[in-house]
Amino acid sequence: MTGDMLLALLPLLVLFIGSVSVLFVPERQALVYGVVCALLAAVLAWWPWLSVASDTPLVSSGFFARGCLTLWALLGAATCLLSERYRASRQFAAPEFAALVLFCVFGMSVLSASTSLVSLFLGLEAMTLAFYVLIAFDRGNTTGAEAGLKYLLPGFLASALLAFGIALVYAATGTFVLSDTVALTVAGASMHTIALLGWTLILAAIAFKASLAPFHLWTPDVYQGAPAPVAGLLASGSKGAVFALLLASVPLALIAPLRPLLAVLAALSMIVGTFAALPQTNLKRMLAYSSVVHMGYMVLAVLTGHQVGFEAGMFYLVSYGAATVAAFGLVASLSGPSGEPQNYAALEGLAARSPWRAALLTMLLLSLAGFPPLAGFMGKFVLFSAALDAGYVWLVVLALFSSLVSCYYYLRPVMRLFRSGQTAADHGPANGGERLVLGLCGIILVIAGIYPGPILRMIAAIVP
């Protein structure tokens, strides 16, 4: 272990140490401390004299890893900022919450930076473990515990699948190093079938994390029961990290027999997610199903198997992540002590009560639906063009169909926003942190939609 390695690991260490040390910070400052730690990690990742590219055996410190770390750290910071008021009205233990968020970010960063199956497992487990607790964090709310259970058990199963998959791949290839395992599998080793079996199991585990159909059933329940900021992190961060891994380190599409499997998962996700979202009347559940659909689109990026597709995938992740975090953040921001406004009925008349937040929510949903000139459109555009280029015409047509139908379920809550509602508001005005995060997300969505050049360039610079 050299000094360079330590320096390269510094951002991760900051996150980890932060997550431990925040436990000793007083209740009121804990979340701010968490934000500071996350931002510090993000800054350190790009600090000129610290950013040496020295790979440790388990995690990379390349541009992509650092870029992802920055993203997740920003997400973590956003989560902390969005939870401030939410936490205060529910008597959460702030230090523990911040610690878990930071630890979760740590896990995601390790996951997306992993160069080995070991760090992949560790990162995934670190992230998942933190989520188990975060989801059930609101002890006053019994659905929280139910949500925790519903994430925990499938999560365990997925962990076991992942572990077994890793073990089989290891058994077949004799190494944990990701690039080597993939290369060996592609080359067709003696135990090719065992390796493929292992990869399939890994794929299943990843499908669970990314909530691809039919591994998605937990998603709506967990999103509904989890505290809104946590659900935001879960929807954007955990899925993002998994896909970052797939795009950068585990090019599954290179393994030819897995391509049909991926395609089927994508198609199923688009179809099932779209139809299941149609009758929803609960915003968070709708967003859950919509995330299933979006993850189906993301698989297209994985399937392309080339640079352009991966860039498109990352861009899509950014646009999807910004919209999702902001959407859940808005739910958090609109929550009062009595609960979250999850049902469409509770959103009625929001435009009159808090016009800015209503406008933002409209924008977010429109972006998710893929209306220009918002980021969602540009994301779909780059993604679908990449997939079309790779020859997946039928998947693109399916994706377009599901985008079409999706307009219905995205616009349904929008219509309610502007109806004159009778429900009384028990939420206060947004605080500074919320405004900052939501505003930033909004700006990102507009800029990425109208002038995506710079963001695309940044992504092109970091994608390996």
Partner: protein, 101 residues
């Protein structure tokens, strides 16, 4: 290697399926957790077997790591078990169906 890797894998596979069956068929939370543990044991077995086959220690190290992770997981799970038992008085997982659709 005395036992061929194939045999180890078959055994591990059987163990894994047994554990999976436990997870799928049991309704009691504790029993499901035990099922998962059995599956993880199958994983450990595979890792150790493969480690022996390839003649380097990575697999065994990973097996050790896996134990630690499993322990952490179970810790969280047991905390949830206690919370659920206290609040709802049952550990039948299908009793927790407040959210659906």
């Amino acid at each position: 290697m005395i036992v061929p890797l194939g045999h180890v894998l078959i055994l591990a596979g059987l163990l894994f399926v047994a554990g999976l069956a436990g997870v799928l068929l049991r309704r009691n939370l504790i029993m499901i957790l035990i099922g998962v543990e059995i599956m993880l044991n199958a994983v450990s077995l595979t890792l150790v077997g493969a480690s022996a086959y390839w003649r380097h220690p990575d697999g065994q190290l990973f097996a050790l790591l896996l134990m630690a992770v499993a322990a952490a997981e179970v810790t969280v799970a047991l905390a949830l078990v206690i919370y659920l038992k206290r609040s709802r008085g049952t550990l039948d997982v299908n009793r927790f169906d407040g959210m659906k659709g």
